[in-house]
């Protein structure tokens, strides 16, 4: 495998990527196609039954027009559910009350982008672009700075365990990465999912886990969003939205820390290096080797052998300080 030319490796990577996406497409189509079709036919039947029943007083086009308008508004995040009942404050409550607006800006900065709310006005859209253009690098810088402080904290237990159990550095790194990953998964996916499942009666545990995972990975489909659009007591609603906000920000940070730790593993480095450029490294290569995605994920530094040689030294020298 190591004798593959660089271009062959790039090609392999691209093909693997395409295959993965195709596989995902096929599986999702198989899983989701039939139920969606079923729901569609069911709703169609309901719609035609309704129209047949009320043909006397409802012109055929009026309902379709109304529903199109409702769906168009929904696409931009404006819900018409629950507004016609006019119960007290909820009917006049704007989509953009303070906690929702805060959640919206957080969803931009973490690139989650739920979409349950989206800017409608041209000024809002322009500001959104401008805000993200400035805010994304800034939040990346913040995460990088925090990571710089926090990673030594997490590396300390790993180094201590490595010394106590006399593990090789590679094994210690693996254990540490696995431990951190497990910790993040428990604290930031399982625990919030349990809390959500307990608080919200209408979603199952799996749905809660799905939501937590979707938020943490910044995919943010927005199909399940806790507490939104329900007739909750204002204090609880505020609390819930702020809790969600805190969860988004902290969870993202924890996730990035865990991913950073994983990407430092020698096995992962070797895998990434396999797909990387081979041969002599020029100066410009050393400049640009460190690729980062929008979430400031790091890859390996230019010369792993030197680092692996120093890692045992640093680990053994640092452990007494822990």
């Amino acid at each position: 495998m190591g004798s593959l030319k660089p271009w062959a490796r790039y090609l392999l990577l691209l093909v693997a990527h395409l295959l993965a996406m195709g596989l995902g497409a096929i599986v999702l189509q198989a899983l989701e196609g039939p139920p969606a079709l079923q729901l569609q036919t069911q709703l169609q039947a309901e719609l035609s039954a309704f129209q047949a029943e009320h043909r006397a007083c409802l012109p055929p086009e009026a309902l379709e027009e109304l529903l199109s308008a409702a769906l168009r508004a929904q696409a931009h995040g404006v819900s018409s559910l629950g507004n016609s009942s006019g119960s007290g404050s909820s009917s006049e409550a704007s989509n953009w009350d303070l906690p929702s607006a805060l959640l919206f800006t957080a969803s931009i900065l973490t690139t989650t982008g739920y979409g349950h709310m989206a800017p409608l006005s041209a000024g809002g859209k322009a500001f959104c672009v401008f805000y993200a253009a400035l805010g994304l690098p800034a939040s990346l810088a913040l995460v990088a700075a925090l990571r710089h402080c926090l990673l030594p904290v997490f590396n300390c237990p790993g180094a201590w365990v490595a010394v106590r159990w006399r593990l090789a550095p590679a094994q210690a790194a693996l254990l540490q990465a696995a431990g951190l990953g497990l910790l993040v998964a428990c604290v930031f996916v399982l625990l919030p999912a349990l809390v959500l499942w307990g608080i919200q009666g209408d979603c199952s545990l799996l749905e809660a886990i799905y939501f937590c995972f979707g938020s943490l990975s910044t995919i943010g489909l927005g199909d399940l969003l806790p507490g939104h659009g329900r007739g909750l007591h204002p204090a609880i609603y505020y609390l819930g939205q702020f809790a969600l906000l805190g969860y988004l920000l902290l969870g993202l940070l924890a996730m990035l820390l865990a991913v950073e730790t994983f990407s430092e593993l020698p096995q992962i480095r070797a895998l990434v290096k396999f797909f990387g450029p081979s041969g002599s490294r020029t100066d410009e290569d050393q400049d640009g080797i460190l690729g980062q995605d929008e979430l400031a994920l790091s890859t390996m530094p230019p010369d792993p052998p030197a680092l692996e040689q120093t890692t045992p030294a640093s680990a053994s020298e640092q452990s007494p300080a822990c």
Binding site: L13, A20, C149, S314
Partner: protein
């Protein structure tokens, strides 16, 4: 914990580090609040207006003709069902395009939006099996995507470097060459990925240029609200190459954006760098070098015996 950070550094560097990080956190929060205020001011009235309009129309629809109590509730529930279905990705009225259905094109687009973490939400899985699969798929697919983006960005950067070298001959000042390469990458990418594609979108989708630019930016930054999605208008005919071009655009555009953000980060003097910077400020300028590269640089300069630098180099970026 102090020893872990810099056993040989002066204490003021550690204090400075914490202060700087605290300031950064505060400014981040302030930025969040600022954005909140502006969106609230801009959007609050607009959203309420649309919702109120919808509410009026729906209550008119229910009560204007012969009002049977049953018809009111039916009218209330039926649109609710349809809207709920829409939120979950099933579009009922008219024919929907292949992008809006769980057929191959739609599912492929969903996989793309999952792996790249854009997550439009125009289609979202409802069955639990699909959701579980989605989680697993993303767990593996997102790192894969990151590796691909990393390599793509690297390739693009090398391409830009070579172009710059060929055009400018051999520059005496490497820092200046880097600046030039950086701005060349920025400008060419800006044109190619952010300024020109919206023209295509506005032509194909019928959006205005501003809306198309907004869509392009929100997609490439992987925010992906889903209020604008390509290929969802059933009244338009989309040629076969259109969606493929858009997928390619997403891939390369994201790689370019990642490159640009990395360059921006490398221009900022990170507060986190102050810790190691305090040890090596005297060793020459760290100006114009990426802060992460600065750590490797100092690692190479140092002997392996110095714990602070190697500790960071061993575990940090």
């Amino acid at each position: 914990m102090c020893e872990l950070l810099s056993p040989e550094g002066p204490c003021w560097a550690r204090g400075f580090l914490f202060l700087a990080t605290g300031l950064l956190l505060l400014s981040y929060l302030a930025y969040l609040v600022l954005g909140t205020g502006v969106f609230w001011a801009l959007e609050g009235s607009v959203g309420v207006g649309v919702a109120r309009d919808m509410g009026v129309r729906m209550s008119w629809g229910a009560g204007a003709q012969s009002p049977l109590p049953r018809s009111f509730w039916s009218l209330h529930h039926l649109p609710q069902d349809i809207i709920q279905a829409y939120k979950d990705g099933t579009y009922l009225l008219d024919n929907t395009t292949s992008m809006g259905r769980w057929e191959f094109v739609g599912s492929f687009f969903f996989s793309v939006s999952t792996i790249t973490t854009i997550g439009y939400g125009n289609l979202s899985p409802e069955t639990m099996a699909a959701r579980l699969f989605c989680i697993l798929f993303a767990l593996i697919g997102i790192p894969l995507n990151l590796v691909v983006l990393n390599r793509l960005g690297h390739l693009m950067q090398r391409g830009v470097h070579r172009c710059v070298q060929q055009l400018g001959g051999s520059w005496q000042d490497p820092a200046r060459a880097r600046w030039l390469a950086g701005s060349a990458a920025l400008l060419s990418g800006l044109l190619l990925f952010l300024l020109l594609p919206p023209l295509l979108f506005s032509h194909m989708e019928g959006w205005s240029y501003v809306e198309s630019f907004y869509f392009a930016f929100i997609t490439l930054s992987t925010v992906g609200f889903g209020d604008y999605v390509i290929g969802m208008d059933p009244s338009r005919k989309y040629p076969l190459w259109y969606k493929n071009i858009v997928s390619l655009w997403i891939l390369f555009g994201m790689a370019w954006l990642a490159l640009i953000i990395k360059m921006i980060l490398s221009l900022l003097e990170m507060p986190g760098d102050m810790c190691t910077c305090s040890l090596h400020c005297s060793k020459g300028d760290i100006q114009g070098r990426s802060w992460s590269q600065g750590q490797e640089g100092e690692h190479r300069v140092q002997s392996p015996g110095v714990t602070s630098g190697t500790f960071h180099s061993g575990y940090a970026i």
